[in-house]
Amino acid sequence: MALVEKGPHGLVLSATNRAARRLGHAMGQAHADAKAVSPDLITHPAEPDRDAEALRLLSLWAERYSPCVAMDAASAGREGLLIDMTGGAHLFGGEVALLTDMAVRLKAAGIPARLAMADTAGSAWALARFGPRDTRRLVPVGGARTALAPLPVVALRLDETDVKLLSRLGLRTIGDLMALPRSGLARRFRGEGGLTLVRRLDQALGSEPEILEPIRRPPVWRVWRNVLEPLIDVPGIETVLNDLAPSLAESLERDGQGARRLTLTAFRTDGRATHLSVALSVPSIRPAHLAKVLKERGLEHLDLGFGADAVMLSADVVEPLTSIQSDLDKGRDGDQRLALAALLDRLGARLGETAAFHLQAQASWLPEHSQVRRPAGEGPPAPAQPPPPLPDRPLLLLDPPEPVTVPLASLPDGPPASFVWRRVTHRVSRAQGPERLSAEWWKPARRALPDRTRDYYRVEDREGRRYWLFREGLYQREDKSTEPPAPGETESKLVDRPPAWWMHGVFA
């Protein structure tokens, strides 16, 4: 069986299984050639997006070993994960035990993998892919040179062109390269090639540092727990969460930090990780509150599958706690701020982070754009300049405005004498206006702006109901519009577009 994808000259094989390899098929072979050699080869279209997603899920799972996990998908067909285990192996009973643990878990989840551990990411990369056929390879400290020497030069993560050039020069293994003087090596290649080669060699041997780009910023504050029997339901997770929250709070308190964003990650037995995040409106270290907010968010949203055997609680975003503590001295005032923060967290967890909000002014003459929602509980907003004093505005704004029929206006460009809105006729007894508003044509617009002028009127009907109406368009000046030419015609034509009335809001 093989997977195919589109190449520059038609379909090519992008992955092969063992049976296909035995028949002599390899990556990069043209699909037509492969079919000619073995007509019964089963092929399926490759789905690189799903491959990448699967690798990402696996990398999240691998965070159980180290907070710093990087995905390596640079070279097709040699994708993998790089895990920085510096100073962490003893937590799993040493390096051998760590590799065994990893191999056992991956095998149980049905994920074939080749593991290697070495002093540098470069040499581990090389050994995992080109090392001797054994599922686990461990290079002792300082043993990189001997371990790498017999491997082919491809193992240095080089381009195909560089590899070809090296083989023309008769340099087939890394050992051949290491025997040469470095300065000469760089000069043999034109342009960047030589530098890349030397840098890759140095990285593999550890004389040049290599920085991994972790998939998520490693949280500094995290606690976690292994469980013997996989957890399959919410109460189980809840128990572990209640245990974890105090120890996370303790380590946060030691550093004088409070959590602003919490993540609960459950590592599943099938090589996936599932997580649940929640934001807090003010930094908090109260264990009961941390656990409660996560529970309100809904532990049932964690997709536990066939069970999770490890749970991690991390504070991804933290803030210094000092500001809160000074408030506590003020007694009731400080208590109230804490109470409000706790309330906002619970609301946010249950209803979504945007459910509770304040309204904030935004500079715009168009009523529907003159305010923005700001999530409740965040720091003070940037002080805006006081808006110009406006005439009365309605308390509720209909957005979008609703059409109104006006059978009769007292003057063509005056307020209506009566109007029909939502099938009810209103007779206007008093009116104030117009207040003329139009869109900010001088500003680059992110959304389509109305192109006609609006004349707003505050009207009161005989029953005392007060409405905010506007007429869109000016008589004589804006009652025609150009229509783009119909297919087959070249001239755009003028069409009648009489001014229209709209209901935009309701006053108290």
Binding site: Q336, A339, L351, L359, Q360, P394, L397, D399, Q432, E460
Partner: protein, 225 residues
């Protein structure tokens, strides 16, 4: 937690009751969008006045789509800074009631105005209790005139009324007036009042019965036809 005040002291004018006499749950009904807007402003004033804590305004997305969205430039006539007005938009009425109870229970808000149509007797009792414990005022806006039993201390029916004469322009609407009627209460006789919005103090006052004749002696105004 504030100790529970003595239950509902009857007062002369429940529409402008002092804070101690309006703690707990109340219900209001207003016809159509203008009635609901009037009831919202009435509830905001009752919740905010005499307390420094934030005021919650809550409704479901459906309600907001039908009645209109809260508009900052208009709501600022209530005289509350942006940070004191906390809006909550919920998917459904059930969540509105949950959010309302959480808000009142938290002891962090001065009061709430919430739109919710169905509420059980038990839920209303609980709301009333947590509101009184937290020293908060809660006004529940109904879209139908309520006939069911509830633990609300007062039940209002609110409608807009023709506005006061504009000082400079005969053609223009003046200060907003609303007709408030108390349809049910514990220990208070029902009554009708015309309230007028005062832009300077950011609260309602009793409308003068006729132009410049002052308050009607018994504290209730005659409806100006």
């Amino acid at each position: 937690m504030v100790p529970l005040p003595t239950p509902s002291q009857p007062c002369d004018n429940p529409a402008l009751a002092p804070r101690a006499a309006r703690l707990g749950l109340e219900e209001a009904w207003g016809e159509g969008a203008p009635g609901r807007v009037a009831a919202t402003l009435f509830g905001l004033m009752r919740a905010a006045e005499g307390d420094e804590r934030p005021v919650v305004v809550a409704a479901s997305s459906v309600w907001l789509r039908e009645q209109g969205r809260w508009f900052r430039d208009g709501l600022k006539i209530a005289g509350l800074p942006d940070r004191r007005l906390l809006f909550i938009e919920t998917p459904k009425d059930a969540q509105t009631l949950w959010a309302l109870e959480e808000c009142l229970k938290s002891d962090a808000v001065a009061g709430a105005v919430a739109a919710a149509d169905t509420i059980s007797l038990l839920a209303s009792r609980r709301l009333d209790m947590v509101a009184r414990q937290a020293g908060a005022t809660c006004l529940l806006l109904r879209t139908q005139p309520a006939k069911d039993i509830s633990a609300a201390r007062r039940r209002w029916s609110i409608a807009p009324a023709p506005s006061a004469p504009h000082p400079y322009d005969d053609e223009a609407p003046g200060a907003a007036r609303i007709a408030v009627s108390l349809t049910r209460s514990r220990g208070e006789p029902p009554g009708d009042w015309i309230l007028e919005w005062d832009d300077e103090t950011h609260r309602f006052r009793l409308a003068a019965g006729l132009a410049d004749h002052g308050l009607v002696p018994d504290g209730r105004s005659v409806v100006a036809a």
